[in-house]
Amino acid sequence: MKTRIALIAAAVAALGTAATTPVHAQDSSVTFEFETGATTGSVMVVLFSSQAGYDGNQPVAAMTVPAGRSPVTVTFDGLAPGSYGMKSFHDLNGDGEMNFNPFGMPIEPFAFSNNAVGNMGPASWERARFNVNGAVVQTITLR
């Protein structure tokens, strides 16, 4: 169980390094309103537009937002209509990385789109994918 749960960590840990936000000549958008228990650090969010990208941690957009106010709101706009998935974590101590306990389990809150939860691993694309066509809003609980 532990190894597979650690895969979540590996997947989300890649967030810290993603930094590009390609612009599409489209007008759809998705807004995530993050609920989290702490106000320190920042919420790091990455967006994927395909299963291959989601599984391979190749995001199409990424944002880092200070967590001072709740909810923490992140909007990705200029999106082409289609299927998307999102991975996020709350970098509580602001070190830019997802932190783990000594046995490799995440100790900082994380979440996937649809508030999807995996089964001893990261939430699958199947559970996390959602459709964007126009302005979409999701309320996400980081846990």
Partner: protein
């Protein structure tokens, strides 16, 4: 053959074909309605549909001894089966925390389920979906961390105004000691969130708490003050990835027993990850509490176990501790699935043995013929030399639950015993020292039985110095709770 047809059918209906082996089916065929009337031990793994409101117990024998005031907190699984899927192992039901209170010579009982994420999710789905010790799990389970599968079902620790419901592969679950309301998982330090905390902490007479958490061949060593404040935590390597449900301690040492049931793969259910490596022996790692880097390793012959007694060190440095030794871990892997199906084990029960670790580095296991599980001793002597081990007794190949309690005197080899008879399932009992008295046997023994004939849980107090006389006081509930695992007494 003494199991109930009713309980088997309940089990079979819920379990599906994966656990119905030819042996199990044959055992079921042999069951009769008459057997069910005589000894329906299926009550031991019955489902409770909800919490048990506080209620006064009916006194059926004797009188509560003067000076006995407090509560016995116990934990054990009490919900196994749901229409959409069921747990497949005794160890994977939802934790029910029971509180038997004694005050003004009257006894009351209340019980509440730990309100875990597991239980919430399974209630929503009306299916038991979580993987566990012996349950593979359902693809619908949503598991983002080990605590999402935490059943909080194994033991209890008293910490300040809370009791902690303990599992062995996740965090403690804090509950209000008065109301048994669930407060939430305990994180002892932010960077240790979600680290496992075994269900068998060792508590020094002054209240300091030692515990381990396991991850393959790594252990975290926890040291907590009596109020639950974390004093220290360290991760240490172990010589092998043995299954470890319990460890023990002397006043100066941690004693970590590594049986030859070793994790060799990553899979679910958890018990399927282990192989019995016959002939490789049982290792005992001894660490100094003051300096965990001071390690000694002893070798004992093969044995399997769940439970150890408190260890002690003699003047010459010899360390002794008792163990309820199984020949192997078949019960762990498959037996407790059969129990849930109401089928006798057919295997040999654990027998009491004394491990002796000599200062010269040699070690031996002195086996007895005494059938024993759930060992306990006087908590005032935890870590110090003692004479007595309290244990359950009477388990047999065709009856997996105890009918008796025993008291083994290591100084004389004498085995005292009180048998409640085949109508009772005897659960773990705890030793409660009498106030103001220092002798080891100046204590009450407190614990429940399930009266199968009355179909009711009973609560008993015995005098440790006169164990074979039987209870000095007994009470009965209006209902039967399923069998629990471990408890503590709190004044």
């Amino acid at each position: 053959m003494i199991a109930s047809r009713r309980s088997f059918l309940l089990g079979a209906a819920a379990m599906g074909s994966s656990v119905i082996t030819p042996d199990v089916a044959e055992a079921a065929r042999l069951l009769t309605a008459q057997d069910a009337l005589a000894t329906d031990w299926g009550l031991a793994t019955r489902d409770l549909e909800g919490d048990i409101a506080p209620h006064r117990l009916t006194r059926i024998h004797g009188q509560a001894p003067a000076g006995l005031e407090g509560a016995l907190y116990r934990n054990g699984p009490a919900k196994f089966r749901r229409p959409g899927g069921s747990a497949e192992h005794w160890f994977d039901g939802d934790g029910l925390i029971r509180k038997f209170s004694v005050s003004d010579r009257e006894a009351t009982l209340a019980a509440r389920f730990a309100d875990t994420p597991k239980r919430r999710q399974e209630t929503r789905l009306d299916a038991m979906v979580m993987p566990g010790f012996g349950t593979p799990g359902d693809p619908r389970a949503e598991i983002g961390s080990p605590d999402d599968a935490n059943a909080a079902n194994t033991s209890v620790l008293r910490v300040g105004d809370d009791v902690w419901a303990l599992w062995e592969a996740g965090s403690p679950m804090a509950m209000d000691a008065g109301t048994l309301e669930t407060r939430g998982f305990v994180t002892l330090r932010d960077d240790l969130k979600g680290m496992p905390f075994l269900a068998h902490p060792r508590i020094e007479p002054d209240g300091r708490i030692w515990n381990l958490g396991l991850n393959g061949a790594q252990a975290i060593v926890w040291r907590l003050a009596a109020d639950g404040t974390l004093e220290d935590a360290r991760v240490l390597p172990l010589p092998r990835a043995a299954y470890l449900h319990d460890f023990t301690a002397t006043a100066r040492h941690l004693v970590i027993v590594l049986q030859p049931w070793v994790q060799v793969r990553r899979t679910m259910p958890f018990s399927a990850a282990f192989d019995w490596q016959a002939g490789t022996g049982t290792q005992v790692l001894v660490l100094d509490k003051d300096n965990l880097d001071n390690r000694r390793l002893f070798d004992l012959p093969d044995f399997g176990f769940f439970h150890l007694g408190d260890a002690w060190e003699e003047r010459d440095g010899t360390i002794r501790f008792d163990v309820c030794a199984h020949a192997d871990m078949r019960f762990a892997a498959t037996g407790a699935t059969e129990i849930l199906n109401g089928v006798p084990l057919g295997g040999e029960p654990a027998r009491l043995a004394l491990a002796v670790l000599s200062p010269d580095g040699t070690a031996r296991l002195e086996r007895t013929a005494v059938v024993a599980e759930f060992p306990r001793s006087n908590p005032r002597l935890a870590g110090s030399a003692r004479r007595f081990t309290l244990h359950t007794a009477g388990e047999s190949p065709d009856r997996p639950f105890a009918t008796a309690i025993g008291l083994h005197d290591w100084s004389t080899g004498q085995a005292h015993r009180y048998d409640f008879g085949p109508d009772h399932i005897v659960e773990e009992m705890v030793v409660v020292p009498k106030p103001g008295q220092g002798a080891e046997e100046a204590a009450w023994l407190v614990g429940p039985t399930i009266n199968l004939r009355a179909r009711a849980t009973e609560f008993h107090v015995l005098d440790m110095a006169r164990l074979s006389d039987g209870p000095v006081a007994s009470w009965r509930s209006h209902t039967a709770l399923p069998a629990g695992f471990h408890g503590i007494w709190a004044d």
